[in-house]
């Protein structure tokens, strides 16, 4: 079984790129299954269902979506195995840029939209810097020079990655991506995360809604950068 974790900024075209890539995988005789994780609502499962492959939706609701993805990884792999799949494609909600929900034994793909400008790769963090493949989308909306500058910025923060220029409308890049996925690593048990998540529980997690500083506990950081621990 192979595991692909697809993350990226909201609206970057993850689902469209994935739809084209799945078609390519199926044409190559692979048996992909998709798990789409979102926070509150999604109808992407209907887009995937048209491809006639196993689809599963997970809504994280009150749980952190990345934690939800990680917590349910074994479940996803088991489900895909039952469905006779050989590749699990996990599309994450991709909201918090502090985390990266990539285990070590997956193929980690980060989808990023070129029209957000060449400073974006510097802001995205581990989602981008620990990915194996960076897929750039919407390149048809900018000049070649701008695409090349964007690419250079991606390589600045993740020098070892492969970059695929994709287009969610035409399917450009899907062929290449499907080949890379077919050659991706096999999953074993005892996976570990590539990047450490943020410093744990805070008072918002436990239901605090009052804004005033005196009500907050946990590992806290002031706007001037000073960090402290408040609590028991």
């Amino acid at each position: 079984m192979k595991l692909v974790v697809l993350a990226g900024t909201p609206g970057s075209g993850k689902t469209s790129v994935l739809v084209h890539t799945i078609k390519s995988l199926v044409r190559n005789g692979k048996k992909p299954a998709v798990v789409k994780v979102d926070c509150l609502w999604t109808d992407d499962d209907q887009r995937f269902a048209k491809l006639d492959i196993p689809v599963h939706v997970g809504l994280a609701k009150d749980m952190c979506p990345d934690h939800f993805t990680i917590y349910n990884t074994e479940e996803m792999l088991g489900w895909a195995e039952d469905k006779g799949a050989d590749i699990v494609l996990n599309e994450t909600a991709g909201l918090c840029l502090r985390c990266a929900p990539y285990p070590d034994e997956c193929l980690a793909i980060c989808v990023i939209d070129v029209t957000t400008g060449p400073n974006t790769p510097l802001k995205v963090g581990p989602l981008l810097t620990t990915a194996d493949i960076v897929v750039t989308t919407k390149g048809d909306l900018v000049s070649q020079a701008e695409r090349e500058v964007f690419r250079e910025r991606v390589l600045d923060v993740n020098p070892g990655c492969s970059i695929v220029e994709a287009n969610g409308l035409t399917g450009k890049g899907a062929f290449e991506l499907a080949e890379m996925i077919s050659e991706g690593p096999e999953v074993h048990d005892k996976m570990i995360l590539r990047y450490n998540p943020p410093l744990a529980i805070c008072s918002l997690c436990t239901g605090e809604t009052r804004v005033a500083r005196k009500h907050h506990m946990g590992v806290l950081r002031q706007i001037d950068g000073f960090m402290e621990y408040k609590g028991e």
Binding site: T115, G117, P118, N119, D140, L141, V142, S143, Q144, A145, E146, E148, V149, F150, R151, E152, R153, I163, E165, T170, G171, K172, A174, F175, E176
Partner: protein, 254 residues
């Protein structure tokens, strides 16, 4: 850069999935070739196939060969090795950077030094009205200024043996100068155009209909004569445009 350079386009399918009538086309070093056809017919799609050196992996199913062979993956993606420079129809930059920072970064992506920045700006300013400065933000440049900068950037920084140009006549810049600047010595130039002067300046033109290449027309000597005559008319129109732009009064016809 290779001494010999031939670009071969192997035909794919049109918008209905029917094989296109032109199944193979060779373009040699030094040639300017036009792409003509109604708007929406698929001219830019052909340009895009060439830009990414399609290998049957685009919606048209076309393949592009270099010197008769399938290009390496590295040539397709790494800007340092790229053979193709493209001036697209895009009239604006989206990057929130100064002209200097952007050009420095682009020079770096193409494996070149920052000393080229001033040359790009100088050249761009020969094609446009209000001068561009290195400290301007890209996002405040006008359509004409952006297009001039993109043109000069291709001539100086990208400087690839194959240049693709998409509808330069709509750019609000001096189109014949721009074409001269981009074509350079011994380059392959592919130009999408609705403009009779530019179309007839090419030695051949590919006719596109419904997404497919339907014909290749070689520019005849009488067409070349026509080209010379309309170029005169065109230059006259251009000079009138300049006169009006400068706020001057148009003299009566002599």
């Amino acid at each position: 850069m290779n001494e010999e350079l031939t670009l071969t386009i192997l035909g794919g399918v049109d918008k209905d999935g029917v094989p296109e009538p032109v199944s193979s086309l060779d373009i040699c070093k030094g040639e300017i070739i036009g792409i003509v056809g109604p708007t929406g017919s698929g001219k830019s799609t052909l340009i895009d196939d060439i830009e990414q050196l399609a290998q049957g992996d685009t919606p048209t199913g076309r393949s592009v060969l270099i010197n008769g062979e399938r290009p390496d993956a590295v040539i397709r993606v790494d800007p340092r090795k790229k053979l193709v420079a493209q001036l697209s129809q895009k009239m604006h930059f989206l990057a929130d950077m100064t002209v200097r920072d952007f050009l420095q970064m682009h020079a770096r992506s193409r494996g070149k030094g920052p000393e080229l920045v001033d040359r790009v700006i100088e050249l761009a300013n020969t094609l446009t009205g209000e001068p561009i400065s290195a400290d301007h933000y890209l996002t405040v440049l006008s359509g004409g200024q952006s297009r001039s900068l993109m043109t000069a950037d291709i001539a100086v920084i990208s400087d690839s043996p194959v240049v693709l140009i998409d509808e330069i006549e709509n750019a609000g810049i001096k189109k014949q100068e721009a074409l001269q600047l981009l074509s350079g010595e011994g380059k392959i130039v592919v130009v999408v155009t609705h403009d009779p002067v530019l179309a007839l300046m090419a030695s051949r033109r590919i006719v596109i209909r419904n997404g497919g290449m339907v014909d290749i027309i070689t520019t005849s000597s009488s067409e070349q004569d026509v080209c010379g005559r309309i170029a005169e008319v065109d230059n006259w129109l251009m000079s009138l445009r300049e006169t009006i732009r400068k706020g001057e009064v148009v003299e009566e016809l002599a």
